[in-house]
Symmetry: C2
Subunit: 346 residues, 2 copies
């Protein structure tokens, strides 16, 4: 019989609540013969306050011994900004070489969008996950004085760019529209930009059926709100991808629906799946958090592990649930989880 | 009698056409006793193709000898990306220490917005203009090979951040709502981010009446489309400001209306005013370009030079023109310029 060994990092704020629903739906979706083993990791603000640890080596080692990781949300106002993000979330992405940060954006029927006219939105952002300005290569001199200088270095390698660009071409090639847009800012960040653009053009020669396009990041934000239907697959740098995917979530019904996968396509390390939203400490414990983004992240997880049919069932359940949701009678986090699990099971 | 010595850089694409309208409206707005002297600078793609020059020292020197600069747009597909941006536009911003890149965003009545429900939008972005990832401090090693590494360094100084943050507090303090939001990404770009945040908090102590707020850049993009009315004044880094102001333009009726000033508040060098839009080579020469952003940039120019009343007259003319515009019968660039000049004159 098969097994799925899942590491679970609920994290902070609403992380606990939404992850519980994700697991509920996962259990409902998995084939009977698959034995689900989960192991919980107490990582995040509580642990840091208690022990000063963000991600000890022992935890990192034992996390490796799993098929995938499900993460809720990391971050709390009681912890200085950057401590958990760099010490835990980004440490995981870098240690497990999650170079494909996959973020699909789809405007489901019957969901609210701030955009007039409800454009047809269905694209995927392939955000680079292990390079760029996220490498933590910065510093400051004469810190806290009027003579302070602070730097942040964006590191980009042909090795790192080529593999994520290739992944994006593969994804574009597998979709009906076969369109890939590179987003960067190569008129200002000329060195990094030219590296990206050259590799994008080179790899493109191997994918003659994929139509390509280049946009500066500033111009891309315009199209996200005026013509989001023009996008199919987007490939971009770590920081631009961070910004664009929050904007994408906003125009497709909000951050409550945006799923993501931090993927290591080689399988050398477990991939990690998480909602794009944060820990939302203001609504933690109120039962108001929408677990849908986590449930859709579970679908990405299943699809990554080869359970394509089960993933599709979860996506269909979410689409139906959204279509039939009655916005006038809001449900609790738990009720939404139950409703989704029932649809998946059923 | 007074004089206004204006350097004009029409630039590329639609730059020529929109600048002509800006000058028309400027002439109509200026008090009778002000002698307007303009000098044209042939800079941009044509010059680069003809001579290989982007901004020779002699031009830079003679530009200094003006009260202000009006710029149309820079950039053409025939020129490699970055050559004119870095060699001309950014060179001017850096050489003339334009540390306040001022970009107001206002949703005028009767203008199209992609946002449903037409929120009340009226904010100003104070974008830092001389530091950050724009400093041109990057490079590449083993360029063009599979072993290439490319870097971009974001440079941030207490000196540079403090002066722009102070300018933003002054602007916020002078507005009825007195609200200032810092946008950065201090949970990832911790060194630059902490420098910005510390200075933002310190300077804030001198402005007890200003309400402050901090947002990560990714979260800020969400509010730009879901709650843009929450913003009053925003202060941010050069790159984040670039991205956010294009998005702001998109939600407030499009890049055809977005004005900007590259301001050196000390007056040591001339400030430069330009529409946020690019050279739009696809519509150059067709008479389709909307000169309104350039006309509004002329208003910023006048306001900067102390002609507050004249600036207000231009803004009122634009507001009226937009309110009474008949979208069904589009006008040419020239016709819009004439209409605005007529309203201003009379
Ligand atoms: C929390 C933060 C470090 C993270 C990022 O910037 O990548 C988040 O915004 C995201 O998009 O997953
Ligand atoms: C053309 C480009 C260099 C410029 C910038 O990035 O600043 C433009 O996008 C702007 O916003 O003025």
């Amino acid at each position: 019989s098969r097994s799925l060994r899942l590491a679970v990092i609920p994290g902070d704020g609403i992380g606990q609540e939404v992850v519980a629903q994700g697991l509920k739906v996962l259990a409902a979706a998995l084939p009977q013969d698959v034995k689900l083993e989960t192991r919980n990791y107490d990582l995040g603000a509580r642990r840091w306050h208690a022990t000063g640890e963000t991600l000890p080596d022992a935890d990192l080692e034992s996390l490796k011994d799993h098929d995938a990781i499900l993460l809720g949300a990391i971050g709390d106002p009681s912890v200085p900004s950057g401590v958990l993000e760099r010490g835990l979330l980004l440490k995981l992405r870098f240690a497990f070489d999650h170079y494909v940060n996959l973020r699909p954006s789809k405007l489901f029927p019957n969901t609210a969008t701030p955009l007039a006219g409800r454009p047809d939105i269905d694209f995927v952002v392939v955000r680079e996950g292990t390079e760029g300005p996220y490498v933590g290569n910065g510093g400051s001199l004469r810190t806290g004085t009027p003579a302070e200088v602070a730097t942040e270095v964006s590191l980009n390698t042909a090795y790192g760019v080529e593999r994520v660009v290739r992944d994006a071409y593969e994804r574009a090639n597998a979709r009906p529209r076969k369109k890939l847009t590179l987003v960067h800012k190569n008129n200002v960040l000329v060195h990094a930009g030219h590296l990206w653009k050259n590799i994008f053009d080179q790899v493109g020669q191997e994918y003659p059926e994929v139509t390509t396009d280049y946009l500066h990041v500033d111009a891309a934000t315009i199209f996200f709100v005026t013509q989001p239907e023009r996008f199919d697959v987007i490939v971009t740098d770590n920081l631009f991808g961070d910004i664009l995917t929050d904007l994408a979530a906003a125009v497709t019904g909000g951050i409550g629906l945006a799923a993501s996968g931090n993927i290591n396509p080689s399988g050398a390390f477990p991939s990690m799946f998480e909602p794009v939203h944060g820990s939302a400490p203001d609504i933690a414990g109120t039962g108001k958090a929408d677990p849908t983004a986590t449930v859709l992240s579970v679908a990405l997880l299943l699809s990554h592990l080869g359970y394509a049919e089960e993933a599709a069932r979860i996506e269909a359940a979410v689409a139906q649930d959204l279509a039939e949701r009655d916005a006038a009678t809001p449900r609790t986090t738990d009720e939404t989880g139950d409703a989704l699990a029932a649809r998946v099971a059923g």
